[in-house]
Amino acid sequence: MHVLIVEDEVSLANELTHFLKKEHYTCDWAVTGREASEKIAVNRYDFILLDLGLPDYDGLDLLRETKELDHEPAVIILTARGAVEDRVNGLGMGADDYLPKPFSLLELQARMQAIIRRKYNVKSSVMPFHELEIDTSARRVSHKGQEISLTKKEFDLLQYLLLHKNRILTRLQLTEHIWGNILEDDYDSNYIDVHIKNLRKKLSGYLPGDWLETVRGVGYRLTA
């Protein structure tokens, strides 16, 4: 997967590159809109991570340019402006997703995964996990054909853990994924613990005892 990061903020671009390389993406980086425009014309990218607030270019113009290419890269808009109009504009003009800054790298990866599944028309939406089958489009978990009933949040949690398997997820990262779109007064890690507890209880008969490791003081790690 070839990714172009269009971002004028050096540090952020570095962190993005660092993260995506570890996730086995190939990364290019453009600081200015013009540079990005040239790179898009020459290279074949699968993903463009586009910052709208570029010094020399309106990010939305760049988005328009990608739509004229014969192979259409997926575009995720990353912006600190976060204004409603930007969002509406960006998605209306064919961006595949939109992440307001500041965002979590894990969230970004989840969105990219979802786009890949959609774009490459992955037939099977079922992710196997030990003896469980997790159907991400039907949002069902089953064991040998028998459905295990999970709440919406429990399913989201399981899917997110599975997507980032073998990686420590902090309670905060999980909270942000589950309740990220609600602006509330505070963050309370206890709520995540309750969901994890319920999830463990519901899946305990079907999975090995160590499927979800608690990293003390940090968070959880799903091992597969």
């Binding site: 903020e9 540090s11 952020l12 962190e15 993005l16 660092h18 993260f19 570890k22 607030g53 600190a80 402006r81 976060g82 204004a83 409603v84 307001p100 800054k101 500041p102 965002f103 979590s104 790298l105 894990l106 709440t151 949040k153 990686r167 420590i168 902090t170 309670r171 905060l172 990262q173 942000e176 609600i182 602006l183 509330e184 007064d185 505070d186 963050y187 309370d188 206890n190 709520y191 309750v194 969901h195 990293v215 003081g217 940090v218 968070g219």
Partner: protein
């Protein structure tokens, strides 16, 4: 009260005062004029009689009559004349009011008394005119004058009304235009046609001021947009860097906990910036209000979203919303955030095993949604402070940034929802949203 009404009322009142003054002052005035005329007439009569005496001699008046006197009055006793011989004394020449008995009837007369000498003999002449007729005249005159003045007052009041309506039309246009402005951003400068300089000046000044306010709003919007960009970007860098460190297998384990702490602090910073941004964007009316929001459904969605948190704290939630009620123009996401924060607070400050009731009903044509908890309550002296930004009260945790209720209030105000809080420490708190009448 409207200016036009005031001016009309004032002019009517001043005219009525003048009318009353007339009514009070007119009788003595008319009386004086009438007396003056009467006196003049008496003097004329006197001259006439004296001329007659000179021509015909005093004898023709007094001779033949008993004791040398003469008296005559006309049929209706309006006037009389008498001449009598008197003993010599100081000369008299007066005009006075006096009562005279004529044919067993006492009548008040204006009487001219004059002594004169003919052939060493002194005579007293009296010429009288009844005052009753004068009074009669005065009364009639007064009546007509009152009718006339009343008519004048009525006509001028109506004329004033009509004139002031025309005169104040530009002012009313200006007022109506100002009433239509919900937000300075929607104001459009407009010229008015008027020959009154003051109105043109007023209109121009308003246009000018509004343009300045609009410019300030645009500046503030840009400022917020810039600040948010400037703050969000470094936060984004820190967040991604921390996440990279967290997922780096080379990061020693004792560092992980510190990183998690960092993450929490950064999360708090992020939320404060986002909450402030949300509040100022709402205050700047940068959110659309173009959705019809069913409050019953909204309450159900919030309850469903938050159900797990209530369960985690062993709190039971009761949803008692009556029939559907729709806010015609609102912002669903903002209203959700508003209600979510209040219900979340009700969970956070509740006692274990407590309960929360979300009750919605129509009250006097307005929909009311109340969230009641059985929590710790808020002391009376703190109630007025709870919506203040950064005012944190008895927070059970250290993570709250104290902007939750400020957001609630801002969103409520934006939708013209009246927000009230009632609390009894130790018993519980009730937040009520009273939605505007449709």
């Amino acid at each position: 009260m409207r200016l036009r009404t005031k001016i009309t009322l004032f002019s009517a009142a001043s005219k009525i005062i003048i009318l009353l003054l007339f009514v009070v002052l007119l009788p003595p005035l008319v009386q004086r004029v009438a007396l003056h005329n009467t006196d003049q007439r008496l003097l004329n009569h006197q001259d006439e009689v004296i001329r007659m005496i000179e021509r015909r001699g005093i004898e023709s008046f007094v001779a033949g009559e008993e004791a040398g006197s003469f008296g005559s009055y006309n049929l209706l006793k309006e006037e009389f004349i008498s001449i009598e011989q008197i003993a010599p004394r100081e000369p008299v020449y007066t005009i006075t009011n006096s009562f005279r008995k004529v044919e067993n009837e006492v009548v008040e007369y204006r009487v001219l008394s004059l002594t004169f000498e003919v052939d060493e003999q002194m005579y007293l002449m009296e010429i009288g005119r009844s005052l009753a007729t004068i009074r009669e005249n005065i009364r009639t005159l007064q009546e007509y004058i009152i009718y006339f003045l009343l008519a004048v007052v009525l006509i001028t009041v109506f004329a004033d009304l009509a004139f002031s309506k025309i005169l104040f039309r530009p002012l009313e246009l200006i007022v109506r235009r100002l009433q239509r402005i919900g937000h300075p951003g929607t104001f459009k400068p407009n010229t008015i046609r008027s020959t009154t300089d003051d109105f043109i000046y007023l209109n121009n000044t308003i246009n000018n001021m509004m343009e300045q306010i609009q410019a300030a709003f645009v500046k503030e919007k840009e400022f917020i947009s810039n600040v948010s960009h400037e703050l969000q970007t470094p936060i984004a860098i820190l967040q991604t860097r921390q996440e990279n460190l967290l997922s780096d297998p080379e990061t020693p384990e004792n560092m992980l906990e510190k990183l998690v702490d960092n993450q929490k602090t950064l999360h708090r910073l992020k939320h404060i910036v986002q909450a402030l941004l949300l509040i100022s964007k709402v205050e700047n009316e940068q959110y659309l209000k173009d959705e019809a929001v069913d409050i019953k459904i909204l309450a159900e969605e919030v309850a469903e979203e938050i159900q797990d948190r209530a369960e985690a704290r062993e709190i039971t939630m009761h949803l008692e919303t009556e029939a559907h009620w729709t806010l015609p123009k609102g912002n669903q996401a903002l209203l959700f955030t508003m209600l979510f924060n209040v219900v979340n607070n009700a969970i956070k400050y509740n006692k274990p095993g407590g309960s929360i009731t979300i009750k919605g009903n129509l009250l006097d044509n307005r929909y009311q949604l109340c969230v009641t908890d059985t929590g710790v309550g808020i002391p009376k002296e703190q109630l007025s402070n709870i919506f203040n930004r950064f005012k944190r009260l008895h927070s059970p945790d250290k993570e709250s940034h104290g902007l939750g209720l400020a957001i609630v209030q801002t969103v409520a105000q934006y939708h013209q929802i009246k927000l009230t809080v009632d609390s009894t420490p130790g018993v519980g708190t009730t937040f009520c949203f009273r939605f505007p009448e449709k």
